[in-house]
């Protein structure tokens, strides 16, 4: 292959790669800055952190807390609450002194055993309730 042709191929390759790379960068910028601006700061985790702020202050600073949202330990409700309320550990068993009743997602029928064992200590007016275990008679 003669030298001019090889030079042409070399410059063509470089130009293509540089051009495609810049076009890809522009597209990424467009998707995450121009188009994505509407979403800034509105992801689920940010909303949950806001909703649980008062609960975070009301809870004891450490310990294991029961958590009930009608979905067991399924992702993501418990995990989001766990992230905000760390270093407390959230468990789905109903044996602890404090119980977080999370009814944000829907008005769920709360099992009667919860009302038998716990009383509402605080209502945060956003579907979140902090319950305290009833004292034994």
């Amino acid at each position: 292959m003669n030298r001019p042709r090889r030079r042409f191929r070399f410059y063509l390759g470089l130009s293509l790669l540089i051009g495609l790379a810049l076009a890809s960068s522009l597209r990424f910028f467009h998707d995450f800055v121009i188009k994505g601006r509407a979403l800034w700061g509105k992801d689920d985790m940010s909303i949950v952190a806001e909703e649980l702020r008062d609960l975070d202050l009301a809870l004891p600073s450490r310990g294991i807390i029961s958590y009930w949202n009608g979905q067991g330990s399924s992702f993501p409700g418990r995990d989001q609450a766990q992230n905000v309320l760390s270093p407390r550990l959230l468990t789905t068993d109903l044996k602890r002194e404090w119980l977080i009743l999370d009814r944000r997602a829907a008005v769920l029928a709360v099992p009667p055993e919860i009302w038998e064992s716990y009383r509402v200590d605080r209502d945060f007016s956003n579907g979140i309730f902090l319950l305290k275990r009833r004292q034994a008679q």
């Binding site: 191929r9 992801d43 468990t91």
Partner: protein, 474 residues
């Protein structure tokens, strides 16, 4: 925010000084950027190892930990002071030809756009992706806040995270940056993610500049910075980009070792440290460590004999030891069982491996992910193939064994991960589709490194084609 940044800077300083103190003296000035980008990541790895040792010995964060870090930094600065004045001077020849300017301009533009996209992505998801806030940041927050009760994060009875068995490099880097602060600044994980992304790009550019010339380094950096999957996952605050960084660093250090006429064992010590950091980052990194050790020293025993292999393995394991011991202790004494491994049995595994339907489904999803590398405009596989065909390739005979080692290593990772998928207890199609893009991402910067070592560089082409390109670094 200032104090966490200072702590991260201190960790980077420790890593850079350690790397510099192990680097051959006459190469220090020439490799200064490579040393810096290697040091930043290794410093993060050392910070996490130090945090883990601290948790085991003196749980709870206070000023003493910072004092320990400062003492370590001071000791390494003293070593640097003792070694200064001996290094060779950097080559002074100008390298400002037209192609260099075009590549720098393109890289700067792409980096600015990537940075803006990174900031935009972080503003949209300040807590990162679900994997970040439910795993890495979840564990980090708990370790920073829980004091003496930190082991409860890994208790089998109450699950902190679905993946509490994951190695701790990333959570502990965040913990090390937060220190004793009562409030864990949410920008720290974002900043750590940015450090690893920038260091990966810098490492690729500086290593290729050293091996193939500055133009080749800038071109590789441009392709990496323009890859959407790298930018998007980097901003998610997950461990795949840090793992990609350590895999790349390991390969670069092995190549640096093999390039020398009179190889230095210190490169192997650093390669061992980088490889152990990969294992300390994610479970896939453990597979990488095992593959690396087996393939590298298998090849060495085959070509140079058992004794040579044993000596190299000794230096490699010496570098890996501090982090590797932490990992072994964590996995054997603290971490709960992995959800993929806990259900394995010989009979079940044999049955799954013999099922051709599973292999077909995994294989289809496995290679479908190549499509993810061509999202947006830059079709990576097609663009790189076209570029290779247009400019050609050039493999030096002396480098063939090292390049073969790198290629076999990356292929073995893909094969090993395919076996893990075949054995998964989850729905195989869902599992592969959900995670395989990130597995490719882990190997992507190292793959780019190997690719640009093979493809003909502008410097190599300049003589044969009469191009107006200066070759200062060749």
């Amino acid at each position: 925010m200032t104090l966490p940044l200072l702590r991260l800077a201190l960790a980077a300083f420790i890593g850079i000084q350690l790397t510099r103190s192990l680097w051959p003296r006459q190469e220090i000035n020439q490799d200064c950027w490579l040393i810096r980008f290697l040091g930043v990541g290794l410093g993060m790895g050392l910070l996490s190892g130090l945090c883990f040792a601290w948790l085991l010995v003196l749980p709870g964060w206070n000023g003493a930990f910072l004092a320990l870090e400062i003492s370590l930094a001071a000791a390494l600065a003293w070593v640097r002071f003792r070694r200064s004045g001996i290094a060779a001077q950097r080559p002074s020849e100008s390298r400002r030809d037209l192609l260099y300017r075009v590549l720098v301009a393109a890289l700067v533009l792409a980096s600015v756009l990537a940075l803006a996209g990174f900031v935009g992505s972080c503003l949209a998801k300040p807590y990162g992706s679900p994997d970040a806030w439910a795993t890495y940041n979840q564990i980090a927050k708990f370790l920073a806040r829980s004091g003496l009760e930190w082991r409860m994060a890994f208790s089998g009875a109450i699950r902190l995270s679905a993946h509490s068995d994951y190695p701790l490099l990333l959570p502990l880097v965040n913990v090390g940056a937060w220190g004793a602060s009562p409030h864990q600044n949410g920008y720290v994980p974002i900043f750590v993610a940015g450090i690893f992304m920038a260091s990966t790009v810098g490492l690729l550019i500086s290593a290729l500049s050293r091996a193939r010339g500055i133009h080749q380094g800038l071109l590789a950096g441009l392709v990496l910075v323009a890859t959407p999957i790298f930018l998007f996952n980097g901003s998610c605050q997950i461990a795949d980009v840090p793992l990609a960084y350590f895999i790349l660093a390991t390969l670069i250090l092995f190549l640096a070792h093999d390039r020398e006429g009179n190889p230095r064992s210190t490169y192997l010590v650093l390669a061992g440290l980088a490889c152990a950091c990969a294992a300390w980052t994610k479970n896939e990194g453990i597979l990488f460590f095992a593959s690396c050790l087996t393939i590298r020293f298998g090849m060495l025993v085959w070509s140079k004999g058992f004794r040579a292999g044993l000596v190299e393995a000794g230096y490699f394991l010496l570098g890996a030891a501090p982090i590797l011991l932490a990992l072994i202790y964590f996995k054997t004494s603290i971490a709960p069982a992995n959800d993929l491994v806990s259900t394995w049995s010989i009979a079940g595994a044999s049955e799954k491996l013999a099922d051709t339907g599973r292999l077909r489904r995994a294989g289809v999803e496995y290679f479908n992910v190549l499509a993810l590398l061509k999202t947006h405009i830059l079709n990576i596989p097609l663009a790189l193939t076209a570029y290779l065909l247009l400019v050609g390739w050039n493999i030096e005979k002396a480098e063939r064994p090292t390049l073969a080692f790198g290629a076999i290593l990356l292929a073995s990772m893909l094969a090993g991960e395919l076996v893990v998928y075949l054995l998964t207890p989850h729905d195989i199609s869902w599992h592969v589709r959900y995670s395989v893009a990130r597995l490719w991402l882990q190997l992507y910067p190292a793959g780019l490194y190997l690719y640009f070592l093979i493809v003909r560089s502008p410097e190599t082409s300049s003589a044969s084609l009469g191009l107006p390109i200066k070759t200062a670094f060749k």
